[in-house]
Amino acid sequence: MTRKEIVIIHPRPSSIVAALYTLRDLNVDVAIMHGPPGCSFKHARLLEEDGIHVVTTGLEENSFVFGGHDRLVKLIKKSIELFNPKVIGVVGTCASMIIGEEMHEAVLEANPDIPVIEVEVHAGYPDNTKGVLYALKSALDAKIIDHKEFERQEYLLAKATDIEKRFGAASREYLAPSRGDIKYKVAKRVIQLIKEGKKGLIIMNAKKETGYMFADITLAVNEVAATLGIQKNLINMANIDTMLGLPRVRQHAEYIMRDLKAHGIEVHEIIGGMDEYPITGEKVSELVKDKYDDYDFAVITGVPHAIPMENIKHMELISITNGPRQVLPLKEMGHEHVLVEIDLHPKTLGVSKIVESEFGATLREIAKEA
């Protein structure tokens, strides 16, 4: 018997929301939340931007006491009527799970003639990846994904959880949020490095759709270097393998690849799929050791803390994350400049092309002045 880990006191992403995003990745048309009206509101709203309908049974005091079975049956039927979906998801919440709601019974009673992914989840898991796992498990049961993909995802999740615990937002009892360094100053520094003819690695290791914005930084650095006429000093790496991951995730990789190509940017090293951000680190590390050991700086976007420090610590590191609680851990790892793209995620939902980042825009502006 082993004692479990530290108690983290800063609020963090919930398993319910993680399940909702996973259902989106599984291309579910409607996600029905069985819970209180305001549960997961902010993310439910954002997901609608991504083309998935999110509805709630809106359990209130009386349903807590008497159960919400009938509401769920009605809502399943209504959702089918309203949205004519091909696949739906039903997601539990703390409220419905505590009172012992049996969502499966409601599904049986509503008896829809389309597949239903039932996710018995609540927000009370320390690792929000539980929500992803449960959703995938149900998708496996509903034969929406196969065993191989499930195992692949399970492995990736375990790695992601591990990375968050070691170097991420779950690494410490409390992490204060931070906006990171001033973008203007860091942009100047990057341009200076390029001007001095320093050799740089531009590594995008993005989590799924966040890549739409992180790719803009790859784009901007390359544009700036091209303007200065020294693009050859840059090597681009990105986790945009178009053959890996759930269909939706591959699609993101395709769009991003297309846009980069359209700008004439070559991705020299594909380091994995867009859901492989927790495992690309080793690959990057090896590449650096074998081929790019003499590079002077690296701009790392997305999940920079997943890249082992060992082979890059001699470079000047410029990291861009979208997690305000990630700044401190990155600094402690030895990243010299850490930037935060505030509110990145909402801007990358529902899009199918690269969107402008603040750091990218800053780089471009300063390059004009120079």
């Binding site: 799970m97 012992g100 049996e102």
Partner: protein
């Protein structure tokens, strides 16, 4: 796949479910069956007489301490090899016992899936008062495949039994039989037999009220272990056998309040 019996016995609080369950478990195990008893009561008193009065750590005891729960920490072998498990629960008046049962049985399923599959008979011992959704989780999660109701011939236990019938049919759980545990009410066997008939079920057996049950219990034993030659031990053996062989299952009817009154008059 073998014909596995996974039963739950419902009935008014204090009617004798736990003591009967542990005696049946012991009787069936003595007869060579693999038997497990899973106590789903925060009181954790289901298996105590199979373990010579010793309390075992419950699943929730360990979960509360954030332990990594393993089979060997929560499944204990009692008299005649009966596997004993207690879900446990929070202190009375604190937290949510219903959620506790859900979490505990899911945990058990995840750590002891193979062991559960091996058994010939699994008895889920639930408390008398099903106060919320959690207490029917073993049934609703599809773990239990047969339900029995225990009652005496007194009015209140029958009233409770009748309500349970309503509840079972509401959740689509068929009823496999009625067990009469006597409290020395007048015309007891006749009344309970009639009740069973009218709700379209069957009376499995009539267990007399015998002080030996309580005497053994006081010393921390089941009747099967301490008084194997008593008449009531023989009744438990027969009941165990009848349950293992029972094929009958009916969606139960329930009686109107008026009819129930008439029946018990």
């Amino acid at each position: 796949m073998k014909n596995q019996k996974i039963i739950a016995i419902y009935g008014k609080g204090g009617i004798g479910k736990s003591s009967t369950a542990s005696n049946i478990a012991a009787a069936c195990a003595e007869a060579g069956n693999k038997v497990m008893i899973i106590g789903c009561d925060p009181k954790s008193d289901s298996s105590i007489t199979l373990l010579r009065g010793v309390r075992i750590p419950t699943i929730l005891d360990l979960l509360r301490e954030d332990m990594d729960v393993k089979e060997k920490n929560v499944v204990f072998e009692g008299y005649a090899g009966v596997k004993c498990v207690e879900t446990g629960g929070p202190e009375p008046g604190i937290g949510c016992a219903g959620r506790g049962i859900i979490v505990a049985i899911q945990k058990l399923k995840s750590i002891s899936g193979d062991l559960l599959k091996e058994q010939d008979l699994i008895i889920y011992d639930v408390p008398g008062d099903i106060v919320c959704g959690g207490f029917v989780a073993p049934v609703r999660k599809g773990f239990v495949n047969e339900a029995y109701i225990m009652t005496s011939g007194e009015y209140m236990p029958l009233y409770a039994a009748n309500n349970i019938c309503k509840g079972l049919s509401k959740i689509g759980m068929p009823l496999s039989g009625i067990i009469c545990n006597s409290r020395n009410a007048s015309r007891e066997e006749e009344i309970v037999a009639k009740f069973a008939e009218e709700i379209c079920s069957q009376l499995m057996t009539f267990i007399p009220k015998k002080s030996i049950v309580q005497d053994c219990e006081r010393e921390g034993y089941s009747v099967m272990e301490k008084a194997p030659n008593s008449d009531i031990a023989e009744i438990y053996r027969k009941l165990g056998k009848a349950i293992l062989e029972n094929e009958k299952k009916n969606t139960s009817n329930s009686l109107s309040d008026k009819r129930l009154r008439e029946l018990t008059k």
